[in-house]
């Protein structure tokens, strides 16, 4: 049984279809939820939490049907919302202790856990100050800490690096990667920032117009493309290309000195060395061409919207 199972899930906000037949399974590890703003990532997160009711399809988390089993699921789930969360009149210690108690911990345990998780997220002595005095980075840390206080099995993070400076962003990503890898927590990270997802996740689910348009491991998505090579030659590039064309090689893309070449089916990179020999040039760089996650993302985002999206627009 997978931790998260979604089957043909549709969620509507009035007439607008925010999720359109989403199906996927998540069974552990760190999974990135990628998509541009308004693609439906946050709606998907909220549907997983039981804040949205699916109009069709089924949502199961940790074996419980949502939103019916929301209370049991939330006992083992941590959620870091996208928007800034602040309880202005209390300190982070007081707020987290309260949150721990809401999970059912006794006050002493909640207080102890509060200090442990605040140490973990790196909130120093500021933890005793009122939260209204915190910077965005501190509030992000408190948000992560409140999601971790009860030691969840599953962590849903919605844009966790929002508003952070480069150092803070890296530290936050390191923390999330650590939670996923070292502590074995299943992490679902929603973001529109590809480097964030690449830093933390092994698998990505790309969402566009409320639909899953790509669902695969990052390794598979960025695997070397069949018969395509990146080549850089020293000498006459034009004569190399002529010689390569005669051997059935096609030039897919030319960026300054770097060529992206497609060799004929069944041929290997050796054909390029032959072309270089015939053109009396030297190959200085040769490697199988790979798609970057950004290229895969851009390709996936070309998915046309459904008529209902156009109506809403």
């Amino acid at each position: 049984m997978a931790l998260i199972e979604l089957e043909h899930v549709e969620v509507h906000y009035g007439d607008f279809k925010a999720l359109d037949g989403v199906s996927c399974e998540i069974d552990g590890g760190s999974v990135g939820l990628l998509g541009p703003n308004g693609a439906g990532k946050s709606t998907l997160m909220k549907t997983l939490l039981g804040f949205n009711r699916a109009s069709t399809g089924s949502v199961r988390l940790l074996g419980h049907e949502m939103p019916r089993g929301a209370l049991q699921v939330r006992q083992e789930l941590g959620y870091m919302p996208e928007r800034e969360v602040v309880s202005p009149k209390v300190s982070a210690v007081s707020f987290l202790t309260y949150v721990g108690q809401l999970f059912g911990m006794i006050r002493v345990d909640a207080m102890e856990r509060t200090h442990e998780v605040l140490n973990y997220v790196g909130l120093g002595e500021a933890r005793y100050r009122k939260m209204e005095t915190y910077s965005t980075g501190m509030l992000q840390r408190v948000k992560l800490a409140q999601a971790l206080i009860h030691d969840p099995k599953l962590l849903l993070l919605d844009e966790p690096t929002n508003g952070l400076d480069p150092d803070g962003r890296l530290e936050m990503l390191d923390l999330i990667a650590d939670i996923g890898q070292r502590r074995g927590v299943t992490v679902v990270l929603s973001s529109h920032l590809l480097p964030d997802v690449q830093h933390v996740c092994k698998r990505v689910i790309m969402v566009q117009h409320g639909r899953v348009v790509e669902d695969n491991s990052i390794e598979a998505l960025t695997a070397p493309r069949d018969g395509q090579f990146e080549v850089q030659v020293h000498g006459a590039q034009a004569s190399f290309l002529d010689a390569a064309e005669k051997l059935g090689v096609t030039c897919v893309q030319q960026r300054n000195e770097l060529l992206l070449l497609q060799v004929p089916e069944g041929a290997s990179g050796e054909v390029l060395f032959r072309a270089a020999q015939e053109a009396q040039t030297q190959i200085r760089h040769l490697e199988p061409a790979k798609s970057s996650l950004a290229e895969v993302f851009m390709e996936a985002m070309k998915t046309p919207p459904t008529p209902s999206d156009e109506d809403a627009a």
Binding site: Q75, V85, G104, R113, N119
Partner: protein, 291 residues
């Protein structure tokens, strides 16, 4: 400190499942008592209670002792008599104070949670919307009863201690029940009304002003109707007057503020409570659709 040198332990304790609304009450009260304005209002309410304590002592100790030098003077002051009317007056005078305290405590309770995105955080924990709504409501009700029923019942106990005997006990035996009932009639609708304003408004100030204006406008409209139409029963539409009428019925007071029976104002108060409950429920359920 680099991340890899930090960690936290797995939680191996147990999770309690019941009574999460009590945690919300506890947290709200903890935040409230730290407020300076709240402490100031507490002082005001306490001074009133001290005056009433003086009244009880004067009546039970001085006026009952014919040899006391002040007895003759105090015999003239009929308003010092400790009876049902004294407690009715005590609660009537506490009512505006309770309204102000509930306004201070409750006007930001829901709208601040919405504004600070705390609802999303709370409802991602295993609490139900009932826990949330009940916790918020009861924190206001407990504060209100702390300024009405509790001090009044303490005064009844002191009265019984200072004037012991079966006669006092039999006379006052139902007073705590009457006090609790009237206190609840004052506090519960105020709490629900202020929470409803907090639920529909976007800021604490707007919610507070709205609740205050509704109360004032309601009283003025009822008074104008009663004045222009020469019919005092229109005072039923004034919320404070309705409360007064119910109080008069509970404490067996003569000369009611209007002639309609207590059932009418009670129905009016119940209707207000119901309407406010519906508003609160709708707003909270908008954030949380789980059962």
């Amino acid at each position: 400190m680099p991340v890899y040198t930090r960690s936290y332990r797995n939680y191996e304790g147990t999770f309690r499942r019941r009574g999460r609304w009590m945690l919300i009450v506890e947290q709200e009260l903890r935040i409230l008592v730290k407020g300076k304005i709240f402490q100031f209002l507490c002082l005001g309410a306490f001074l009133h209670w001290l005056l009433r304590l003086f009244q009880v002592v004067a009546y039970d100790v001085i006026m009952q002792d014919p040899n006391h030098p002040m007895a003759a003077m105090l015999q003239q002051a009929k308003f010092l008599t400790v009876n049902e009317t004294a407690f009715f007056d005590f609660l009537r005078i506490q009512a505006p104070m309770v309204f102000l305290i509930c306004l201070l405590a409750g006007s930001g309770m829901i709208c601040n949670d919405v504004r600070n995105n705390l609802m999303e955080v709370y409802f991602s924990k295993p609490i139900t919307w009932r826990d949330y709504a009940l916790g918020k409501l009861l924190s206001l009700v407990f504060v209100g009863l702390g300024f009405t029923a509790l001090p009044a019942i303490v005064l009844v106990v002191i009265h019984n201690l200072l004037a012991p005997g079966w006669e006092t006990l039999t006379t006052t035996i139902w007073w705590p029940v009457e006090i609790a009932a009237f206190s609840l009639v004052i506090v519960l609708p105020f709490s629900l009304g202020i929470l409803a304003c907090s639920a529909v408004m976007q800021s604490q100030n707007y919610a507070g002003i709205t609740a205050f204006m509704i109360l004032v406008a309601n009283g003025v409209i009822a008074a104008l109707l009663a004045g222009f139409l020469q019919e005092e029963n229109y005072l039923l539409l004034s919320y404070p007057m309705s409360l007064d009428r119910i109080g008069q019925a509970i404490f067996h007071q003569p000369n009611p503020v209007f002639n309609l029976g207590w059932g009418w104002p009670m129905a009016f108060v119940a209707m207000v409570c119901l309407l406010c409950s519906v508003i609160i429920t709708r707003v909270v359920r908008r954030a949380e659709c789980a059962p």
